[in-house]
Chain length 213, copies 2
DNA sequence: CCAGTTACGCTACGAGCCGTAGCGAAAGCT
DNA sequence: AGCTTTCGCTACGGCTCGTAGCGTAACTGG
């Protein structure tokens, strides 16, 4: 995964402990659950992981980078089972995102690192590579399947196809994040269903469909 | 606006300086621009505003509450000119949101306070009342206009109508925020146009429409 | 005019966290 | 062996936090 910072020079000495790495990341996630982003401190994580504070700073520049790597591992679990239809795939993506955002460690960390990244370009790139792209994969997969089934038109020009994919991704991920973290309302099957109707059929379709199945 | 904490007991003594209030909030916004959320400190804001640090703590519990009030004032400017059609109104809402999110003080502060609010319920309520509801107004206005024009069906049941409104709001606000802050790509007229097509006509319509007008 | 009440500026303080330096010991490689 | 890098530990200056204490300023009611 190339999470930690690579040692500045080449090999030849004592190798970095892989156990320490996993212990630190696990301790970071647990600290996020217990304390939240703000009250999480480097010293506390070191104590929890059973390593010295200096060891953390040898591998990560600071709290933001550490937390990004810690939560990024959770996004590895994301997977999209082929459910046979575009509508079902969208609901699947939505519920997958929602499950991750429901976890307390993700909830408190995700917005915080995004906030940091608005004034820290390298961090933003790290967030993109470690977290955002992992989400995006799901959307691209679902889109490719839908095109294979003939449910969505294939865009011949690669550039405009990429623009469309970006648009779709921002709409889906943005809506789920906003619902879960800003509105702080549950992203359940019912919400996913109505959201899917909106995305597939547009505003009028979503408004016309009542609460029933 | 009822931004600061009301004095605990009733009147009778020296009133709080209104000039200090505006100076503090203005200094807070400027500090957000210069330093960003993380490096902003209460002491620094006090110095910029020309007041004592203790004066800040008499009115706000901490950095989060202060920043919420400081950026909330910016959201007062939000207004939706009646542009005659639902499509144009949606583009208007999107560009209004985008203009606010483009400001450096809003950019760095908004995600930060949302992150804080995930582990601080009173703060979340404050964010909702001061910021989110101000955005929501625009969406509700546009929706009502569209229904008056016959562009959207009127939902008779108040409960389901509210659910639909919440859904639409999360989709629009979420997409804009995600595009601007997570993907960190510009929300320009072209993007607003394509987004509007997607919201109005659904996925297939958005994909079918090429880059041209 | 004068007592009562509240806000203000200022100073000072203990507490906590940051990020780094310096040390001796451990663990690999050639 | 000898070299190189990591590790745990301790200690440190610097910064921010949030509060306490004081004398002064501003406004109100008798």
């Amino acid at each position: 995964m190339q999470s930690r910072n690579t040692p500045p020079t080449r090999a030849g000495g004592r190798p970095r402990s892989a156990e320490a790495d996993t212990a630190i990341l696990e301790a970071t996630r647990q600290a996020l659950v217990d304390l939240g982003w703000t009250k999480l401190t480097m010293g506390d994580v070191a104590t929890r992981a059973g390593v010295a504070k200096t060891t953390l700073y040898r591998r990560w520049a600071g709290k933001s980078e550490l937390v990004v790597d810690a939560v990024a591992e959770l996004f590895d679990e994301l997977e999209l089972p082929d459910s046979g239809s575009l509508a079902a795939d969208i609901e699947g993506v939505v519920l997958q995102f929602a499950a991750l955002l429901g976890r307390p460690e993700t909830k408190t960390a995700l917005m915080a690192v995004v906030a940091e990244s608005t004034t820290d370009e390298p961090l933003r790139e790290r967030v993109r590579a470690s977290i955002v792209d992992r989400q995006k994969r799901l959307v691209l997969t679902g889109r490719a399947r839908a095109q294979a089934r003939g449910e969505l038109p294939v865009e011949p020009d690669a550039a405009t196809a990429a623009v469309t994919a970006d648009l779709i991704f921002d709409v889906i991920a943005g809506a789920v994040v906003h619902r879960a973290l800003v509105s702080a309302e549950p992203v359940d099957r019912e919400w996913a269903r109505r959201f899917t109707l909106l995305i597939l059929g547009g505003l009028a379709a979503a408004a016309a469909s009542g609460p029933g199945a």
